[in-house]
């Protein structure tokens, strides 16, 4: 049998299997939630902000692999310093 085909590309799968920046920032300055579990995917983002700059960002998500990859790599999730 030929190698098993994959549903997603290796980068997406890597982020899905080894998610970065998961969790909640302690005492966040800002918190946002997008989506609705009943209708689709949901993401919750918490931010620590110092002097107008994001210094830490964490997410939680209920969704498919593509969303989890997106959340991992979302600019806000890679935000510290911006």
């Amino acid at each position: 049998m030929s190698p098993a085909p994959a549903l997603y590309n290796p980068t997406v799968l890597d982020h899905f299997l080894n998610p970065r920046n998961v969790g909640d920032v302690p005492e966040p300055e800002a918190m946002g939630r997008a989506g609705e579990p009943a209708r689709g995917d949901t993401m919750r983002l918490s931010l620590r902000i110092r002097r107008g700059r994001i210094v830490d960002a964490r997410f939680r998500t209920f969704g498919c692999a593509a969303l989890e990859d997106y959340d991992n790599r979302h600019p806000a999730a890679r935000a510290p310093g911006r």
Binding site: F62, A65, A66
Partner: protein, 386 residues
């Protein structure tokens, strides 16, 4: 890594005996069954034999009552649209259950766009159709009642015999989509009082590319595929001879092995459900409890705070093949109409997967799933916003 295939409701492997029966009809006996020379007659005989095997499998009165189509979807389209076309003068109203397969629902919707009306009878929390609900939906214009034998998603076994008696009493055509149950549970054309019954051998160790529609001799049907006179004018198009031969072989074996299949899968189903339930808090079984009211091979479960496609993907990476409802990559992102009809919380409906057992599964397979799946759920729950 152990490979555990738990998607037998989508497809089963073709049995070696079935494949052997099919093989001569690819390159050797390749004649067109409509041809009058010996090559054609050989193919024609093979189809006649398959028709007898399938008729015996469902206790039909005659092999002439069997129509071979390309699959279950075509059979459902023929049953619903073909009945509507044949009985148009008698009325323009259909009654279907709310949890029919999309092939039936979409066929009914097509008819609605052409001047028919269609009532959708509700189901209860376990997914059971109430014959009283069917009775209440009937009008003096009703020409067809369509209720499936076993639900394709949640495994609920419907009271088709009772609904068949009701349809007969009112002189209304009765169509049973038996896709999910055929080959695992008895299908009995005479006992059910059904004018039309459809099923597909790929769900019980036969090939894809062939479907069956049983048409009782008294059931009126108009063809929806027009062309040559194949299948006694009921379905034009050159017959898929190898697949039809495979359908006959698979039906004969299924008839012989039905009880063994049911017992084997029911035992594993019980073991799987007990093991998963013990290992995962907040796990919901959708549809009836394992037992006489449920398909013996399927479990439909929702693990709170997890999403179905993510579960499916992690299962696949650990060698476990399961089926999911809505997902980004599958063809529909909507919540299953079946889970909506039983009133399941939409978030749980999005966290839904289906495991369907087969004869190749063992206790060791089940134990591997019982050990592995809770870890998958725990991983996803750790990511999830509460």
């Amino acid at each position: 890594m152990r490979q555990v295939y738990l998607d037998h409701q989508s497809a089963t492997p073709v049995l070696p005996e079935v494949l052997e029966a099919m093989k001569p009809f690819f390159a050797g006996a390749y004649g067109n069954p409509s041809s009058l020379h010996r090559h054609g007659l050989l193919a024609r005989d093979a189809i006649a034999r398959a028709r007898e095997q399938v008729a015996a499998f469902i206790n039909a009165e005659s092999p002439d009552e069997i129509i071979f189509t390309s699959d279950g979807t075509e059979s459902a389209n023929l049953a619903v649209k073909g009945t509507a076309a044949a009985r148009r003068r008698d009325g323009n109203h259909l009654v279907i259950s709310a949890t029919e397969h999309p092939a039936v629902i979409a066929s009914a919707e097509f008819l609605e766009s052409r001047g028919f009306a269609c009532a959708r009878a509700p189901v209860d929390g376990r997914g059971l159709v109430d014959p009283g609900g069917i009775r209440a939906a009937i009008t003096d214009k009703t020409i067809l009642i369509a209720v499936h034998h076993v639900n394709h998603e949640i495994g609920a076994i419907q009271p088709v015999r009772e609904i068949g008696a009701l349809a007969r009493e009112r002189g209304i055509a009765f169509y049973v989509d038996a896709e999910a149950g055929a080959g695992w549970l008895p299908v009995d054309a005479r006992d059910w009082n059904a004018g039309l019954i459809s099923f597909s051998p790929h769900r019980f160790y036969g090939p894809k590319g062939v479907g069956v529609l049983y048409q009782n001799r008294r059931a009126r049907l108009e063809a929806i595929l027009h062309g040559g006179g194949q299948e006694n004018g009921r379905r034009a198009g050159v017959e898929n001879v190898p697949a039809i031969v495979g359908a006959g072989a698979a039906a004969e074996i299924a008839g012989r092995d039905l009880e063994r299949r049911r017992a084997h899968c029911a035992r594993l189903q019980r073991r799987l459900w007990d093991g998963l339930r013990a290992g995962i808090p907040r796990l919901k079984l959708n549809g009836p409890e394992p037992g006489p009211g449920r398909h013996p091979a399927t479990l439909n479960i929702s693990a709170e705070l997890t999403e179905g496609e993510a579960q499916l993907l992690l299962c696949d990476m650990r060698g476990i093949a399961v089926s999911g409802g809505s997902s980004c990559m599958s063809r529909s992102r909507n919540i299953s109409h079946v889970l909506a009809a039983i009133g399941l919380d939409p978030a749980l409906a999005r966290g839904n997967i289906v495991m369907s057992l087969g004869m190749d599964n063992t206790e060791e397979d089940v134990d591997y799933v019982i050990e592995t799946y809770p870890k998958i759920v725990a991983k996803l729950r750790a990511l999830s916003p509460s």
